[in-house]
Each structure stands twice: as structure tokens, then as C-alpha cells.
């Protein structure tokens, strides 16, 4: 099936099997391997991307369903703010919010959507939001700190 979509701001068209998952399409067809696959039951969240700005698990989406949509992956995240690093990426680095790095792309993509919806969140709100993202390394403590800091940075007045 033909599909035309935007990935990280670039127009992409492809002829793909209807059963192809978005996660596989990104990784195998588009060579965007920053989107990871850590489970086969849609629990782990390593594959989270943005579809029209909303965080979604790419392992639960069919690539053909993305026709006409706009997909952003971790590789394109900084581009959405025209910087070298998105504030959330910077916050994960500064707060030591990652260890092995495998869950990190999904965590960051999920966190950016959270931050858009919760301009001044509580720690509890962050922790509950992360129900769909599993990390085995960090005990979440520094991820939570990173998301709180990243959210603050995303909502800081421009030019500060």
C-alpha cells in the first residue's frame, strides 16, 4: 500500500505491506533506529514517537495508518525547536536521567508530550504519566527530576 507522510519534517512516500508496524517502518525502512523496541506487548514505551505532536507507541500503530500524518522521532525532536538539543533532551543529560540509554528515546518523547499538557506538574503527576514507560536502570528518580526540569525549561519565557 502507498503511504505518504511527514517524518521529522521531511516528506516520505513508500509502498509498504499493510501489516507493517510504524516502529518497524521507522527502524527498517527509514533507518531511524533511535526508536527502540523493548517488548512485544506495548508495555515498555521504548518506541514512543509523536504523531501530529501527540505521544504514541509506534509498535501499536500500522505504518499505513500514518498516511497524511506528521511523525516526529527522537532524531527529529531537536529540530522542532530549531536547536541542537530540545530542552527535554538537555534536562535528561543534566539530571543524569539515563543510564544504558535504551528506554531514553521513548522516555524523552513521552516526557515532551507530558510537558505540553502539564505546564507546572507535580512529581506525582510525572510518576503516574510514566506508567507506560519502563526503565530498568535508573529507579526513575533522575528521570522524574529531568522531566520536572525539562518541563520548566519548555515553559520558560522566550529570551530568558
Amino acid at each position: 500500500m502507498k503511504v505518504e507522510l511527514s517524518i521529522n519534517g521531511r516528506a516520505v512516500s513508500a509502498d509498504i505491506p499493510p501489516s507493517l508496524l510504524l516502529s518497524d517502518f521507522l527502524r527498517e525502512n527509514c533507518e531511524l533506529t533511535g526508536t527502540h523496541v523493548g517488548c512485544d506487548t506495548s508495555q515498555c514505551g521504548a518506541c514512543v514517537v509523536h504523531v501530529d505532536g501527540v505521544s504514541m507507541k509506534s509498535c501499536t500503530l500500522l505504518a499505513v495508518a500514518m498516511d497524511g500524518r506528521s511523525v516526529t522521532t527522537i532524531e527529529g525532536l531537536a529540530g522542532t525547536v530549531g536547536a541542537e538539543l530540545h530542552p527535554m533532551q538537555e534536562a535528561f543529560h543534566v539530571n543524569h536521567g539515563l543510564q544504558c540509554g535504551f528506554c531514553t528515546p521513548g522516555m524523552i518523547m513521552s516526557a515532551v508530550d507530558f510537558a505540553k499538557r502539564h505546564p507546572s506538574p507535580t512529581e506525582g503527576e510525572v510518576r503516574r504519566w510514566l506508567e507506560g514507560n519502563i526503565c530498568r536502570c535508573t529507579g526513575y528518580q533522575n528521570i522524574v527530576a529531568a522531566i520536572l526540569a525539562g518541563t520548566k525549561a519548555m515553559h520558560a519565557p522566550q529570551g530568558d
Binding site: T41, F102, L130
Partner: protein, 796 residues
């Protein structure tokens, strides 16, 4: 001390950039020209005879390149997977060590045992073809429980191994312990289960293998914590590939926790099949296959007794443990419940007599091996639960009973009755700090406040010690290790003064690229951004034993310091020549070689430049260049320890346990990067909390099927299951590592299960509860609360 990037600085991690931008290079990301995809067909039976495998229809399907079975491997002379650590029975005879073929040939011994490898142009084609492979199984009765496995008449996992018993191991002094019990005023007893866990690093295991027929050379990229060991074990013992014809690369690896420190059949078969097909092959485990094929952790059933005098002093400890080996011996399987368990049973106490017996048992389950902490969490859990039981029965305060029996700082080095000799420590200081940090004194008030909200509050304390920094080769070889467990590092000074370090440990989240750079920065006064740490490629790095057992800094870091010192020593000789002084007059300070007591000096950069530029120095005495290598074999284990305190609130209506606070005070020796240490502690504690409250790998006893084979069934801790943990280090220095480091990778996982369960039991103690098995799930806790009078646990 270089205040900016040296030892003690919480500098941000050098390796983060690639991970936060999606540029990590994990095995699943690797793509080779002409690459095929492979999938394993796994047994649906826990125990069955393979009467035949018909691959004909599947082999004819679209895109299928080849299908291999265990018979094909055997016909080609592929050897069995070796066990790298043998233990002996109490009578001195060796353990039973059944052969383990890389793929099942005539029998499967657990659900998930691989029976065929299907290789096709695409993953989808391989998966479809796998469904068309017809395996004729004759199901056999299976046994998954250890207690069932040693009953007379139990199904035999191996036909020629009686009672499914791999070994009957012991340590300590049975006679002295019996004598101690004979004079006891009180004996405290406990029987407990240490629940089976699945390590579940977030990156599933994977391998890409490529055979180059032109060079007769193999390369395998694999999700391994120890690529050099894979190279030796697989090349030398299984596939008969000469070492110089085999390259193993472990690139970015998404978490290990022990799960990736074994030689796995899939690595062997993918490599072998790449030669048979003549094309590169990629295999990626699905998570559900990971549950059925990653080596598991823990899984003990134990009984223990502690003899005390009338004042509460420990006189003797007796432990009997049955440990599950699973359906085969994994790489280090027999070592975990023996040497890494029994030898830690002194804990931080002066118990003079200890005797521990461990029976290793085969069952129709996935093999059990090291998982973060590996043996030491099990020892700590047993000991610290038993101490709480003793305190409660003798009506002694649980902090006081610990203090009364603790090794005093003045008693180090301390020889335990179970072989190991602790070099350094101060457990009382850690305990005192933890009590303060946790506001132990204010607990009654918090308990009352919880009660007013209808909640049961409990507080738990655990003190622990562990042996890590694996390993002093002479000691571990006397305990059954079949190789040395040293480490090596090369320091390469580039002509510009930039530094490349090649080290045999493997970084899969621990922050080595930063921590090791800090060591070199400290020693050479070179900023960390001019230092690159290279690891994980056997063609680049000379040799190494990898990362596990909290060894990387203690052993690898010491090798690195040793190599760096050789750089300084060579630099001093070159500087002496440049400054026309005697070698012995040269000192190295803050990045410069100086003539002692003068202001005449040459910078490190100038000296390195001279080493490569051959500026007039005696090449008959000094070799050109500046690159030094060191191997380091430690003289002893390192012994981190500490005190942890947790508080829980339990809702008696639902049985839900909420962990509300966690304080850890750890003695991990000198801290190189406090930020990274904090992260290691958080993650380690979270895994221990997972075992205590959430995680459990369960098999159905009748069918041998795994009931918890996905993240929907096996409860991984989530962010809202954990509080903010309060981490403090209070360190004594290790006496035999560079800088006095001890290691911090496992301490969180070792201290936390006992801490949390002690808190849960404390919350329920008014009901007469004296033990809760892990995980303390709502159902289990609710039943305890509502059946407290009948001591439900005994009936379970």
C-alpha cells in the same frame, strides 16, 4: 586533585549525547549487506522427547534460506555450551555436569528450549516458516519445583543424574557450629523463599554474525557484558574457531544486570549459521522469548537457624538452602548460590561459627544464573530476616541487636569463618548515619499519623556486606573458577597529548566513559574531553573479562591506574633526558614533569611530543611512542557494605504496600563521580524493591508452563511504585584497589529486599506476623492480615 574533572567531581556523562539524540548503536540497529534474519523455534513443552523434526515444507517457503536443527549442529561438530565454574560436593567429588548442546537434539528440558533456527530474507518470512516446522514431541512429566525435584520418583531432568541433584555443597565448620548451638540460650529459626526473577534489561538480547569466506574470519556483534569471554568460550570450546579468526563486538548494550554475562546458544548458532549460509544473519529476541531464554535469577528455598546467648550475641548460624539450577547449567550457574552466597553469611557480624549447606537442583525451567547482586542479596535477605526474627523473639531492639553483634571498625581486617577476609569497613558508622538520615527516633510519631489515616506503618533496617570486585584469580580458582578474572587496560597517548583508553570492561549504562576518563584526568591532569574510553571490541581491546560483579572500577579501574602510572614512568625517563637530569630526580605534578626542588619542567604534551618526535633521546634505551598496557589481578575481593532503612504504609483493606521512604547509607570506598554513584544506587534499590514487592517468575507446577512470560504478567517496577530515595555514602577506603574504590553496582539490590520486607513485617508484627515471602503483593499481605491468627504462611 583536579577539581574540574578528576576524582570526586559530579561531571555530566560524556556518553549521554548519542543516547538522548537517538544515535546509540545497539546490536538491533546494525545492518550488514545481504543480511538475513533468523528466528528460533522454541519448545512449547517443559519436558519432551524430540522424535523428529520435519523442516521440509518450511524450507520450501518464500524467502527461506536455511533451517537448522540440533542434529545439523551435532553433525557439523558444534560442541556443547561450557560451564565456566565448577563446584564440588561436600565429600570432595565434583558436581554433576551434564552436557548442554547449543540446540536441543533428542530432548527439550524447559519451555523455550530452542529446537530449530529458521533463516530467511525477511523477519516476516522467517516467522511464517517457523510456524511450518513440524516437531514431533513426546511430552514427558515435568518438574519445576525444587522440592518436588528431589522427591523420590520425581521426573528425571537428566536420565543419568539421580535425584536431579547437581551438587551438595557446603562451607564453614559443621562441628564448631553444632557446638555453638549446644550452648545457645535461644535459637531463632526461619524458613523462606527467595523468589525467582527475570532480569529484563530493556534491550532484548540480539546478535548479528558475519562470516568472511575470503579471510576465513568471523565477526559477531552481540548484546554482551563480556565480549572477550564470549570469544574464548564460543571460539575455543564450541565452534572451534581460532581466536585470531574471531572478532566479537558488544557495541552499545541496553542494560545487562547479569543477564548478558553468559555465553548463550543463540550467539553460537547465529555465528555458525552465518558460515553455513554464507551471509550475515541478524537475530533479535522478542521480549516474550527473553522471558523463556534469558538466564533467570535467585530461586532458593532455605531454612536457617541462629544461635544466640542470653544477651543476644550471635553464637552460630546454620543454613540449608536448595537452589534451582534450571534445566541446564548456565555459564556461572553453580557459583552463584554457593561461593557468592555461603561466603557472605557472616554479614557485618562477628558470628564465630557458620555452617551452610546448599543443594543445587535441576528442574524443567530456564537455567538460573547471576542477576544483579547474584547470591549476595539472597544471603543478606536470609541473614537480615533471621536477625529481625531473633530480635523480636528475644525482645531486643532490632537496632541494638545489630549493633551488639557488629564488627567494630578496629577489628578490620576481619577474617570471617566462611573463607573471606574483609579488608575495611565501619558498619556501625553506616548504621548510625542511616538512623539519623531516616529519623528513626521519630518513627512512632509517623506511625501514629499513618494509623490516624487507617494505614499500618512499618520501618525496616538492614545492614549488609558484599564481596565484589570479581575477582582475585587465585582465590576464585580455589573455589572452582576455570579461568583468571583479572582485567586489563591500555593507555594510548596520541602525539597531540589526547588520550585513548582501551579497557576490557564493558559499559552498558554504568557511565564508564566518564568515570574512567576522570581517573586518567586525575592522574595526568588532562581534561576529560580529551580522553576517549574504548571498550567492547575484541579487535581493538587487548583482552578483558567484562563487566559484572561490581568489578569494572575496582579491577578495571586499577588496571587503568596501573597503565597510567606506566605512562608517567616512561614520561619521567624522557623528561629526564630532555631536562638533562637523572630519572630519579623527576617528579610528575599537575601535568608536568619537574626536576624536584627546581622550577625546571616539561609538560606532559612536550614529553609525549618528544616520544613520537624522537627528539634526540636515546632510542637504544627508550622505545619511541607512548602507549602502555597493564593487567591487574586483585589480591582480594572488595567489600562494600552499608545500612538501609525503609518505611512502608500498608492499607489493611486492600493489602497494598506503599514504600514511602528509603534511606541508603553505603560504604563503597572512594567515590569517583557522586552523580553516577547516585544513579547506580537508585537503580539497584529499585530492582531490590521490585523483588520485594512486585516481581515474581511463576511456573505452573502441573504443566511446567511459565505463567509470567510478559510485561503484562511479570510486574516490572514503574515510576509510581517508588519514592525518592535518599542516598548517602560514608566510606572507608579499600586497602588494595587504586584510590581505595570498592564498587557500587550491586549494593542497592543487595540491601533493599531485606530492608523492605523487614519494614512490611514490622507493620504487621502486631498481628503476630514474623515473615512475609517475596513479593509482598496485595493478595499475599491481605491474606496475612486477615488470617493472622492462623499463620497462613506456614500453610502456603
Amino acid at each position: 586533585m583536579n577539581a574540574h574533572t578528576g576524582i570526586g567531581a559530579s561531571i555530566l556523562r560524556k556518553e549521554d549525547r548519542r543516547f538522548i539524540t537517538g544515535k546509540g548503536n545497539y546490536v538491533a540497529d546494525i545492518r550488514r549487506p545481504g543480511m538475513l534474519r533468523g528466528v528460533f523455534l522454541r519448545s512449547p513443552h517443559a519436558h519432551a522427547r524430540i522424535k523428529g523434526i520435519d523442516t521440509k515444507a518450511a524450507a520450501a517457503m518464500d524467502g527461506v534460506a536455511a533451517i537448522f536443527t540440533g542434529a545439523d549442529l551435532a553433525a557439523d561438530g558444534v560442541g556443547g555450551l561450557p560451564c565456566a565454574w565448577g563446584v564440588s560436593n561436600a565429600d570432595g567429588t565434583p558436581m554433576k555436569e551434564p552436557a548442554r548442546s547449543a540446540m536441543a537434539v533428542d530432548k527439550v528440558r524447559c519451555v523455550g528450549d530452542a529446537v530449530a533456527f529458521i533463516v530467511a530474507e525477511t523477519l516476516e518470512q522467517a516467522l511464517v516458516a517457523a510456524e511450518a516446522v513440524v516437531v514431533d514431541y513426546e511430552p514427558l512429566p515435568a518438574v519445576v519445583s525444587m522440592l518436588d525435584a528431589i522427591r523420590p520418583g520425581a521426573p528425571a531432568v537428566f536420565d543419568d543424574i539421580p535425584n536431579n541433584t547437581c551438587f551438595d555443597w557446603e562451607c564453614g565448620d559443621a562441628q564448631a557450629t553444632a557446638a555453638a548451638f549446644a550452648k545457645a540460650a535461644h535459637v531463632a529459626r526461619i524458613s523462606l523463599v527467595n523468589n525467582r526473577l527475570v532480569g529484563n534489561p530493556m534491550e532484548p538480547r540480539a546478535a548479528v554474525a558475519e562470516y568472511d569466506s575470503g579471510r576465513d574470519h568471523y565477526t559477531m556483534w552481540t548484546t554482551s557484558q563480556f565480549p572477550h569471554v564470549v570469544k574464548v568460550l564460543m571460539g575455543n570450546f564450541v565452534l572451534n574457531i581460532p581466536q585470531h579468526k574471531l572478532r566479537i563486538v558488544a557495541p552499545d548494550v541496553g542494560g545487562g544486570f547479569g543477564v548478558k554475562q553468559f555465553l548463550y546458544a543463540e550467539e553460537v548458532i547465529t555465528t555458525w549459521a552465518s558460515r553455513k549460509t554464507g551471509r550475515p544473519i541478524k537475530w533479535i529476541n522478542e521480549r516474550s522469548d527473553g522471558f523463556l531464554s534469558d538466564a533467570h535469577g535467585r530461586d532458593h528455598v532455605s531454612e536457617a537457624e541462629l544461635a544466640l546467648d542470653e544477651s543476644g550475641r550471635f553464637l552460630g548460624l546454620k543454613v540449608r538452602t536448595i537452589a534451582n539450577m534450571g534445566g541446564y547449567l548456565s555459564t556461572f550457574g553453580p557459583n552463584i548460590p554457593t561461593n557468592l552466597y555461603g561466603l557472605l553469611l557472616a554479614g557485618v557480624y562477628t558470628t564465630p561459627a557458620i555452617h551452610c549447606e546448599v543443594k543445587g537442583v535441576f528442574t524443567n525451567t530456564v537455567p538460573v544464573d547471576a542477576y544483579r547482586g547474584a547470591g549476595r542479596p539472597e544471603a543478606t535477605f536470609l541473614l537480615e530476616r533471621l536477625v529481625d526474627v531473633a530480635a523480636s523473639e528475644m525482645n531486643i531492639d532490632k537496632v541494638e541487636i545489630r549493633r551488639l553483634n557488629m564488627i567494630d571498625a578496629s577489628q578490620y581486617p576481619y577474617q570471617t569463618p566462611v573463607i573471606v577476609k574483609y579488608d575495611s569497613g565501619d558498619p556501625k558508622a553506616c548504621l548510625d548515619t542511616a538512623l539519623k538520615e531516616a529519623d528513626w527516633a521519630g518513627f512512632a510519631e509517623r506511625k501514629a499519623a499513618s494509623k490516624a489515616r487507617g494505614l499500618l506503618r512499618g520501618i525496616g533496617v538492614c545492614t549488609y556486606i558484599e564481596a565484589c570486585g570479581l575477582a582475585p584469580s587465585r582465590i576464585v580458582q580455589s573455589l572452582g573458577a576455570r579461568a583468571g578474572i583479572f582485567e586489563s587496560a591500555t593507555v594510548r597517548m596520541h602525539v597531540t597529548g589526547d588520550v585513548t583508553v582501551l579497557i576490557g570492561t564493558h559499559n552498558h549504562g554504568q557511565g564508564h566513559e566518564t568515570t574512567f576518563a576522570q581517573i586518567v584526568s586525575e592522574m595526568l591532569s588532562v581534561p576529560t574531553d580529551k580522553i576517549e574510553i574504548v571498550f567492547g571490541d575484541t579487535d581493538k581491546v587487548q583482552f578483558g573479562l567484562g563487566t559484572y560483579g561490581s568489578r569494572s572500577l575496582a579491577v578495571g579501574g586499577t588496571a587503568l591506574a596501573k597503565a597510567t602510572n606506566k605512562i608517567i614512568a616512561k614520561g619521567a625517563k624522557i623528561a629526564a633526558h630532555m631536562l638533562e637530569a637523572a630519572d630519579t630526580d623527576i617528579v610528575f605534578e599537575k601535568g608536568s614533569f619537574k626536576i624536584a626542588g627546581t622550577d625546571r619542567s616539561k609538560s606532559l604534551g612536550e614529553v609525549v611530543g618528544a616520544a613520537y618526535g624522537l627528539v634526540n633521546f636515546p632510542i637504544d634505551v627508550l622505545e619511541p611512542g607512548m602507549e602502555e598496557k597493564a593487567f591487574y589481578d586483585p589480591v582480594n575481593f572488595t567489600y562494600p557494605g552499608g545500612a538501609h532503612i525503609a518505611e512502608v504504609e500498608i492499607d489493611p483493606e486492600s493489602g497494598v504496600v506503599e514504600l514511602v521512604s528509603y534511606v541508603a547509607v553505603d560504604d563503597i570506598g572512594t567515590v569517583i563521580n557522586p552523580m553516577i554513584v547516585g544513579g547506580q544506587l537508585h537503580g539497584g534499590i529499585a530492582q531490590g524493591v521490585g523483588q520485594a514487592l512486585y516481581e515474581n517468575c511463576v511456573y505452573d507446577e502441573a504443566s511446567g508452563q511459565m505463567l509470567t512470560g510478559s510485561f503484562m504478567d511479570y510486574c516490572m517496577p514503574r515510576a509510581d511504585n517508588l519514592p525518592n530515595m535518599q542516598i548517602t555514602t560514608q566510606s572507608t577506603q579499600c586497602t588494595h584497589t587504586s584510590f581505595g574504590v570498592k564498587g557500587c553496582g550491586e549494593v542497592g539490590t543487595i540491601g533493599s529486599p531485606a530492608t523492605v520486607i523487614n519494614a512490611v513485617v514490622d507493620a504487621l508484627s502486631h498481628l503476630g506476623v514474623n515473615h512475609v515471602d517475596m513479593p509482598a503483593t496485595p493478595g499475599r499481605v491481605w491474606r496475612l492480615i486477615h488470617n493472622s491468627a492462623t499463620q497462613l504462611r506456614a500453610a502456603e
